[in-house]
Each structure stands twice: as C-alpha cells, then as structure tokens.
Subunit: 192 residues, 2 copies
C-alpha cells in the first residue's frame, strides 16, 4: 500500500465529512466527493465496499476523533482549566470556523442525525458513537477538575446540547452571537 493511495482513502473520508457539513447526507454526492478529494472514482468501491453508508460512517468517526483531539489540545494549553474555560475554548473554535468560512459548514454529526436518524440506523449509530467519542474527554476533564463522575457527565451533555443548538441557530441567522451567548450564560453554572 503506497503512501499516495493511503492518502486517497483518507482524503475521501475527510472530504466526505466536509460535504456532510455543508449539505447533509442527501446533498452529498459521491462523485463530487472523490473529485474534490482529488481521488479516482474507482477508489470508492475499492476502499468502501459498504457503499455510502460505510463512507458516511467513517466520516463521522473521523469527525468525532478530530473533535476529541481538539478538546485535548485545549486542555493541554490551559494553565488553570475550568469547565467554563474549556467550553469557551470549544465554542471559540466554532465561532472562528463559522466566521472564516461564511457559515458554510455546520456539524457533520447533526447533519447525519437530521437526515438519517429515522431512515438509516447504521448512520445513526455512527453519529451516536462520534458523539460519545467527542464527549468522553470532556467528561474526563471535568472529573479531573473535581466534579463527581455523574455531575461531569451531566455538564458535558449540557455543553454539547447547547453547542449543537447554537451552531444550528447561528447558521440560520448568519450570526455567531448565539454561540457566544451560550458560552457566557453557562459559564457560572459550569464553574459552580
């Protein structure tokens, strides 16, 4: 397996995730994905014999892993981390992304859930798994900050709910104010 071919596979997964963020599952065409990835069309049936479902599933897996890595990244950079500061850092990532790309892209997990939760259980499970991958390091960090495990779980769930909803509303309004608002409003509750 040469380096370039492995590159093809990874680039297809990455590009799929980006397409999901822009147009959802139904709006993501596989021909367009491989074209944007600079990969040959034949790679699709070679690397993803499970078809679109497999590809979308891997894209969600990649997104979850990436999001978890961002959480770790923020934690590593903080001198005195608190739940609210962690949340603010995650939110700031999204503010920057939305503003720099003109609200083009949302969360791929939300896109998959909205399009497939009722019609495609494999994709729904992949979305749930990605969410879990994302939430786990947040919960763990809150525990190290002194919260009881149950409490940490509740607070990280609250963070993700507020964040996902704020992303949707921010894109609808083309305004990042909702994101900043949830970060600010939840801060005292998170650090209490």
């Amino acid at each position: 397996m040469s380096a370039s071919t492995r590159g093809h596979r990874e680039r297809i997964v990455y590009e799929t995730a980006q397409h999901l963020r822009r147009a959802g599952v139904g709006g993501t065409g596989l021909r367009q994905v491989v074209a944007d990835a600079g990969a040959p069309r034949g790679s699709l049936q070679h690397y993803f014999p499970g078809g679109k479902d497999q590809l979308v599933g891997e894209a969600l897996g990649w997104a979850g892993t990436w999001a978890a890595a961002r959480v770790e990244h923020h934690l590593a950079r903080m001198r005195r981390p608190t739940p609210a500061r962690l949340f603010a850092a995650i939110v700031e990532d999204w503010v920057a992304d939305l503003e720099s790309r003109d609200f083009e892209r949302g969360c791929p997990v939300a896109a998959a859930v909205v399009d497939c939760a009722d019609t495609n259980d494999a994709v729904r499970q992949a979305a749930a798994s990605a969410l879990h991958t994302w939430q786990r390091p947040i919960t763990a960090a809150l525990v190290t900050m002194g919260r009881a495990p149950r409490r940490a779980q509740a607070l990280s769930t609250l963070m993700l709910c507020a964040l996902e909803g704020a992303i949707v509303i921010a894109r609808a309004q083309r305004d990042t104010a909702p994101l900043r608002l949830v970060s600010r409003e939840l801060a005292p509750l998170l650090d209490a």
Copy 2:
C-alpha cells in the same frame, strides 16, 4: 375556492413539514409528499409555482407559527409561570413527541438549516424567520415575568439553543435523557 381544495393546499404544507422532520430537505420528495397528503400532483404547480423552495419555506413558516401557538398554549395553562416552567413545558412536548413516534421526527427548522444554509438562501431565511416567530412569544412571556427585555432575549435564545441541540442528541442516542437534562440543569439559571 372550495373547502376541499383549500384543504389540499394546507395538507401539502403540513405534510411537507412532517417529511422535513423525518428526512431533511434532500430526503423529501415532492411526489411522496402529495401522495401522503392525499392531494393531486397537479396541485403542486398550481399552489406552489415557486417550486420546492416555496413549499419548504411555507412548511417552515407553518412550523414556526405552530410552535409559537404551543408556547401561548402553555402560558395560558400556567397559574404561576416562571421561565423554567415554560421551558420545561416546551421540552416535555418534545419528549412526548419523540417517545410516542420512536424518535422518527426532529425539528424541521434544524433540518432545513443543516441541509440548505449554505446552498439555498431563501430556505435559510425562512428558517431564520420561523425561529424568530417561535422565539418572540417566549421572550415576551419572560418580560411579563419580570425580566428586562435584553435579559429575556438572552434567556429565550439560550432555551432554543439547548432545546435544538438536545433534540439532535436525543435522536442520535434514541434516548430523551438529554432533553430532560437540559430542562433540569437550566432551571435554576432561568429562574434566577
């Protein structure tokens, strides 16, 4: 305009909204919509010359109006309303809907944003407008409960963000726990 034909138009709009909730914009086929609405296909180009965009826009408008009516309904039934109690009532609507329909349907506004925010500005504006229609009575109610206008606006935004995100996550996990959680966790903050 006879009663039955007006019924056709309204039923098409309603059925479109329900399809949006299940499969998003891309997954909603117009032939299927009119079939489920019990309406003739010809009604589509007669009532909605603007095509799918117009239809989706009207479906979002209907959804926003319906949601606002639910808010008023809850307020009318409460003896001593508080922000947290209003939020709990709205959340309970969604818990009941998700549980009774096996997590089939989410929020049509979120579906439209996720699928079209980048590719279809008319639909995006309709979604923003529906959100506004929904939020307005909430904000107004918070003002009558004694919050300053700015504060009421912030709190109602927080409510909708947490709610929309919790719906997405609940559908991913097929579990209404996130909805109940945001209702419980935000209560002290809302009623503070």
